[in-house]
Each structure stands twice: as C-alpha cells, then as structure tokens.
C-alpha cells in the first residue's frame, strides 16, 4: 500500500506523528492527513464516484481515524488500518445514498448509478464507460474487492485485511468479479 512518500518511506517518522497525534497534537495529525489524503480520496472516489461524497468521506475518515487512534496497534500497517476505515465510511455513505435514491426521481437516480468523468473524452470512452458500469453493477463485496485490488493496486492480503475477510475469500471475489465484468462487457458488444 502506498501513501505520499514523505511519511511512507520513514516509518519511524510516521510512528512519531501517530504518537503525537494520539496525545492531541493536531499539527502531527495534519501531517498524517497530508500524507494520506490523496490515496484516501482515490479509494473513496472509485467506490463512490461522486466528488461531494468523496469530500464527505475524506473528512469523516480522518475524524474517525483521529477518534480511534488510541486503538491503533502499532505492529500493524497504519495505511491498511486507515483504508479499512475509509472503506467503512464509503459503505456507510453508500447505504445512506441507497436510502435517498429510493425517494429520488428516476432521472436523478440513473445519473447517480452511471457517473461519467468530465475527462472521459481523452480516454477510450466506450471501454472505460463499460468497465465503470460493469464494476458498478457488481455485488458490493466483489465490487470493493476489485476496486481495491485491480484499480487501487493494493495487494490481495492487504485487501483482505481492509475488508475484514481472508485472502482466499478475496481471491474468489476478485476472480468472480473479473469473470462477471468480462461477461458483461462481451454482452454489450
């Protein structure tokens, strides 16, 4: 797993910041935020696909991290622990969004279900759009597994830790997800 290089490459410095933040040093916590915000935002963006929700997820993730910093086990990977919180925050937001979507008008709901990036004209539009829709159509657990493994490029063992599953389970989920995506895209052609 990777974050910004400054703290990533210096675990002792990261640990010092974590310990200081635990004692209430907001300056140290700001350093941690600076080191991790882009990666946290990336995960949230790939799960949620909505810029405003990403900001909300980012803020809630950092607040939860700060609140539970006392429970963090220093023997474990800090970034994995933080990404696990990120995924949980995104799940909560998705749950809330599902409840809202139940009441939303049909046009609005379909816009949420199939977001398109403003930059998509520079990409292979069809392939990327199909891939996005295929991933969005996956069951939640397979979707998270494939986003973390194939899109965020997080190792399977770390994905398992983030999702609270075994590595074997995650491998099966990823394999199923890839097969479904392939089938979905072939079906669209």
């Amino acid at each position: 797993m990777s974050a910004d290089p400054v703290l990533m490459d210096e675990p002792e410095m990261l640990l010092a910041h974590i310990r200081a933040a635990r004692e209430g040093d907001s300056r140290a916590f700001e350093e941690i935020m600076l080191a991790t915000e882009r990666r946290v935002a990336s995960i949230a963006w790939h799960i949620l696909g909505d810029a405003e929700e990403v900001k909300e997820a980012l803020q809630e993730t950092f607040l939860r991290v700060f609140r539970h910093l006392g429970r963090y086990d220093e023997q474990r990977d800090f970034f994995g622990w933080m990404y696990r919180i990120t995924v949980n925050v995104c799940r909560d937001l998705q749950g809330r969004r599902r409840r809202w979507r139940f009441f939303a008008p049909i046009e609005e709901a379909s816009a949420v279900a199939a977001p398109l990036s403003a930059d998509s004209d520079v990409l292979r539009k069809d392939d990327v759009a199909q891939l996005m829709r295929a991933i969005d159509a996956l069951p939640p657990k397979e979707r998270l597994a494939i986003i973390l493994r194939d899109i965020e490029e997080i190792p399977t063992e770390a994905v398992a830790e983030i999702l609270g599953s075994s590595a074997a389970t995650v491998r099966v989920q990823i394999s199923n997800a890839r097969a479904k995506i392939r089938k979905w895209i072939e079906g669209q052609r």
């Binding site: 907001s26 980012l58 950092f62 990036s117 990409l123 991933i135 986003i147």
Partner: protein, 139 residues
C-alpha cells in the same frame, strides 16, 4: 495511463478541496478535547471535595435524626400493675374462652390506677434514659 486513472478518471478534488477538508477536520479536532477537559476538571474537584469531607478530623458530625430513634429500643416492657385491684375472676372473665394465646399482661396507667376498658398503655424505654416512648392504644 493505469486502470486507476482510467476508472472514473482522476480524483476530482484539487488542492483547495483538500485544504478545506483538512481545515474542517482540524477545527473539529481542536474543538473536541474541550469537553473531556471540563469533565476531568469537574471530576477532580468532586473527588477533592469528598476527600476533604471524609479525611479532615475534628469535625462534629451533623446529626441527621435523634440518636434515641436511631438505635434499637433497649427494652420493651409493658408496665405491669404493682397490685392488681381487680379480682382474679374478673380478669379471667375478660379473656376469650377459646383463646390459644397466652393471657396478655394487664397494663395499667403509670399512677397505678386500674386501667379503663377502653385503652392500654405501653411504655418503651429506649437506650437513652431520658427518652421513653409511651404508646396508648384502644383495646
């Protein structure tokens, strides 16, 4: 371009957005410890007050209720007549015929006069010699 960049495109937040989130988080974090500090101070003050109450010697305790009532009565003794004025038959005739209970001692007034048929007096001497409970009940 990697799949990460292709899928949904790059994260649509700029430096200003990140700074805004950071500022908001820091504002909430810096506001949070206020309450625990206040609670900690209040708890410490309460503990100190209790310790002062309990540990400082020489304080006279404030009696919450009279000591005589706080203790068990030392003796409960109906005052028996020094010399029954009524004949034994008269007393026996007042007992119920089929009563299985022990005959109750006849209470008389403190002045030694025969009790009336209407009331009974019981005096209870408490541990305090100056306090005596007098119970007058109808028969």
């Amino acid at each position: 371009m990697t799949l990460r960049d292709e899928f949904r495109g790059p994260v649509p937040l700029d430096d200003r957005d990140f700074a805004e989130v950071r500022g908001s988080v820091l504002a909430k974090i810096e506001r949070r410890p206020l309450f625990p500090t206040v609670f900690r101070f209040a708890a410490a003050a309460a503990v100190a007050a209790v310790l002062v109450f309990v540990l400082i010697p020489g304080r006279t305790p404030i009696p919450s209720r009279p000591p005589a009532l706080a203790t068990k009565p030392a003796a409960v003794a109906p005052v028996l007549p020094p010399a029954p004025a009524m004949p034994a038959e008269a007393v026996a005739s007042k007992q119920p015929m089929n009563s299985k209970s022990e005959p109750k001692p006849l209470a008389v007034a403190e002045n030694g006069a025969p009790p009336s048929d209407m009331d009974m007096t019981i005096q209870i001497q408490t541990a305090d010699p100056n306090v005596r409970i007098i119970w007058i009940a109808n028969r």
